[in-house]
Amino acid sequence: MDTNAIAADQTLDVTGLMCPMPLVKARQAIIQMEVGKILKVLATDRGSVKDFQGWAKTARDVELVEQTQDESGNKTVFVHYVKRVK
């Protein structure tokens, strides 16, 4: 999937933060957003990949649109696109 095609409505940078903060911050951000909007989350926490999958699987109000990783910097950045569905 071409990630440039995903139009995120808001970006949240949680690079440097560790479990459970990326998830907590993402949750706090997305509940302020309208239904249908997409939040792009940038994280360096390696656990966040499984965490965001688990969150989307459990919670009824969010959907994981896409996950990518960016190796261009000196630290891998995991990018999560989360959509508020409810």
Binding site: M18, C19, P20, Q28, D51, A59, R60
Partner: protein, 195 residues
Amino acid sequence: METSLEINKTGVGGMTQPTSLESRIEVLEARLNELEQQLPEDRITLVVFSGDLDRVLAAFIIATGALAMGEKVSMFFTFWGLNALRKQRILDGKNLPEKMMSMMTPANTGQMGVSKMNFLGMGAKMLRLMMKEKNVETFEGLIELAEGLGATLYSCAMSREVMGISPAELREGTEEAGVAGMLADALRSKSTFFI
């Protein structure tokens, strides 16, 4: 050759099914209601028995993670776990064993030790330092966060009395509960953790 089968006129549970469609729907709705009452909620329950910094830290990480996932969280602190709720030490009004217990347990979360390699508190200090270096939220920060996200913190009244801890020694906003209070939440939770 066709043989007629006997039609089962009794419903589940041996109830005779009413014949009219409307009354059958009514019965179904009542049963559905009853079943819905028995379904677990989007909730987890944690029983925190340990007063070790590392173990209670795990409890608060689970709690905040669950809250972020949209689950409700009930946390019950009992015995050594009560140390995680302590904000001060009050010796006034305590008898000798209670005073001794009070002197030997942490007066606040800053004095909590780790379960392994504590070395008179050096281990706990080192863990806190390592957490800070790795940019992990502080222990106290996680408690505040859990409360802020809506976790309910209960202290076990019985163990609090046994250990001679007065409610004034615990952080504000802590509610009191007994075993039935904990079980009532555990029974409507999808998961219960004992730490």
